[in-house]
């Protein structure tokens, strides 16, 4: 492979990491609180609010059912509003984040669901406030599950970021399509696939390690 090809691959790898990391971070920032909200507003929970719960649930489900490639194009006005442009790597972060937030929210809700309800009762019997129950009991106890969910989210974002090429987001997937499919350059396409495999492996094993470190149930 030529030096030019290496340069292309390096740039694309950076774009993929940038898109995944930023949209991943933002989706955790908004998705985990949303997941907590979904959990605590269910009937019978510490801040039950059936109306809010159904509204949030409906929004989350609706966002999750829109195919990503449609979402990417449909929210172009919003993207322009938020980052000033609707094309490029940074612009791709907006739809990626928006797609990932409800995904993270459901995963977080599921992880918190696994915390035995007896722990919440124990905390209530000690006079804990709802906020303390979330911060001292639910989130720490759900941490291994949350880390597992974040790992899945990052891996999913790596593959979703390939579609960001549609709005000029760049990245490895986009490079692979442009060189492999449109210019019949098999070497570059193969190289992008290999790098993607390695990247996903790294994310997964780092996530597994972190999860193991925090899992005290074994």
């Amino acid at each position: 492979m030529s030096a030019d090809s290496w340069l292309l691959l390096g740039k694309a790898l950076w774009e993929t990491i940038y898109m995944t990391a930023v949209s991943g971070g933002l989706s955790f920032l908004f998705g985990i609180p949303l997941g907590v909200l979904l959990y605590i507003t269910k009937p019978g929970r510490i801040k039950e609010n059936p109306a809010l719960n159904s509204v949030l649930g409906a929004i989350v489900n609706a966002t999750r059912s829109v195919p990503f490639i449609i979402l990417l194009v449909a929210i172009i006005p919003l993207t322009r509003l938020l980052v000033g442009t609707s094309i490029g790597t940074t612009a791709a972060i907006v739809p990626l984040t928006l797609a990932a937030i409800p995904f993270v929210a459901r995963i977080a809700e599921g992880a918190i669901n696994e915390v035995p309800s007896g722990l919440v009762e124990a905390a209530q019997s000690m006079g804990a406030t709802p906020l303390q129950i979330v911060s001292r009991v639910l989130l720490p106890e759900a941490r291994p599950g949350l880390i597992n969910g974040m790992t899945i989210t990052l891996v999913t974002l790596v593959s979703y970021s390939a579609m960001a090429g549609a709005i000029g987001g760049g990245g490895l997937g986009d490079l692979g399509i442009r060189y492999g499919y449109q210019r019949f350059d098999g070497v570059i396409m193969l190289a992008t696939v290999v790098i993607l495999i390695v990247l996903v492996q790294l994310i997964q094993s780092a996530g597994d390690r972190l999860q193991n470190y925090y899992d005290r149930t074994r």
Partner: protein, 343 residues
Amino acid sequence: MIELKNLTKVFKAGGKEVKALDSINLSVPEGSIYGVIGSSGAGKSTLIRCVNLLERPSSGQVVVDGQDLTTLTEKGLRQARHNIGMIFQHFNLLSSRTVYQNIALPLELAGASKDEIETAVSPLLELTGLQDKRDSYPSQLSGGQKQRVAIARALASKPKVLLCDEATSALDPQTTRSILALLKDINRELKITVLIITHEMDVVKTICDRVAILSYGQLIEENEVEAFFLNPQTDLAREFVRSAIHEKPVAEVESRYQPEPSEGSRPVVRITFVGQGVVDPLITRAAKQFGTDFVILQADIETVQGKSMGFLMVEILGEESEVEASMKFLKENVQLEVVGYVS
């Protein structure tokens, strides 16, 4: 210390109403260990969960340490709960926290400083014998050790009341004994009032001062433990006492057993002795004095409230007048009850 007044709890589940508690009136004296027994589904857990308002009663009052909890605001209730420790059947420890951190939790929630926490937790580790488990995680502990952590945690906020919901039901008999002994120590040394919910009479027998029986949401009997064992009033109470003294029918006699007397039948009586009665040779004296014979069908001595209690099932043989006379003599000295006849 705990006063339940006309406590009623109705659950609405799928259109149907379940009256889990029906106008319960109950009073737990300060410094005592109070037991509530009942069969599965009787409403025991609902009752104890109403005491710290984990379950809101449908009507009635819950007065703890002079304060009616049902009238408090959220904030006031949280404050009051610092005064009421609780332990559970399944321990409910946080798996992500060490023993030390678990015990520290109530103090953290109340906003205590690191130093305050250290000063409060160390003696609790000592009291519960967990010094060398300080930095272990719950998954590394046995059931008995987990319950000790839960007890230490419940005591961390220096409560006046300790609620125990089936605290020993998940433990083996030996561990149960050690946990009960710990609860007794805590009651005596820290002067904490203890309310215990259980379906095991052994628990009541071992540590309770008073006991109440719950049946289908109603409190049907209440007494001092010794009196309860000596003189149970309801069928359910008698059944519980019998389970505690491991009474069972004797195979050889059962086929000849009848509830009413008939020509030539002989009475079977249950004799209950307390304290000194256990060591007095009353049976042999009756035998000598009236010329009656005694067939011992079953005998058991239990420790209730630190006192010995003897339970004896005997068949009395002899002339009718002699049998009558020896029963009268025994009744003057011990509790005697005719349970049936054999022919």
